[in-house]
Chain length 118, copies 2
DNA sequence: TCATGCGTGTAGTATATACGACACAGTACC
DNA sequence: GGTACTGTGTCGTATATACTACACGCATGA
């Protein structure tokens, strides 16, 4: 099994804590606006991952990409959902076409679109 | 305001009903596995749109693309969520890059990927 | 020794999600 | 004038989501 959301958060937080005591459960919880006991339970997998907003705040604290943390929580950033919902057929087809392409092909695509070649 | 989920379903169902009496609230509800009063309320917007599974069954009944009905319900097909979650950074970047491209550019992209030009 | 901070256990809550059960009034057919 | 079908109103429910409140025992430092 791969690393769960809680395990991953705990690892990242403990890492940061070695260099900065402000990364205790209590203090991180206070900064992201939840109760320490809740964060503790989430990290140990006793509670399911929190809401998108709380995960985003946590990602910021931990210096992580919110998308990645959200993905581990089984979620997808809501702005992406909005993009798909605006043109559902187009983006559904596109994603299903792209799903098996290797990373490098997708990266090339991102780059080419960014550089205005589309 | 644009057509809501319920309004759209009702319109489509009534259309089909003109040609086939089997498209009553009661009979459609029975075929998709919900209570008629529930479908009635959903169509009139008294209840929020149903679950993905129920919407998919409804789309099939009405001969509609499930993606479109789901989008009207404020949802995104769960298989697409899975695709994004597997490579969250890549697909997040990509979708954000593609969000403002016109339909024809996206269609061209879909076609080119399908034809193996990637 | 005692205040301060630590992680965690127990219990409870508010809100949303996704419906079902049942009854009722209207209409159409024979 | 019953039978069969229609849509809908009222009420209730099970499950999930996203947490809070509070207390406990341990460790550390003054």
């Amino acid at each position: 099994m791969s690393r769960t959301f809680g395990e991953y958060v705990r690892e990242r937080r403990e890492e940061l804590r070695e260099e900065d005591a402000r990364f205790s459960v209590r203090q991180v919880a206070a900064r992201i606006g939840v109760e320490p006991s809740y964060l503790s339970k989430v990290e140990r997998g006793e509670q399911p991952p929190p809401s998108e907003a709380t995960i985003a705040a946590l990602a910021k604290e931990l210096g992580e990409a919110p998308e990645v943390l959200l993905a581990m929580a089984g979620k997808v950033p809501s702005d992406l959902l909005g993009i798909i919902r605006r043109r559902p057929r187009l983006f559904s087809d596109l994603l299903r076409q792209l799903q098996d392409l290797p990373d490098h092909a997708l990266l090339r695509l991102v780059r080419e679109v960014r550089d205005g070649e589309w």
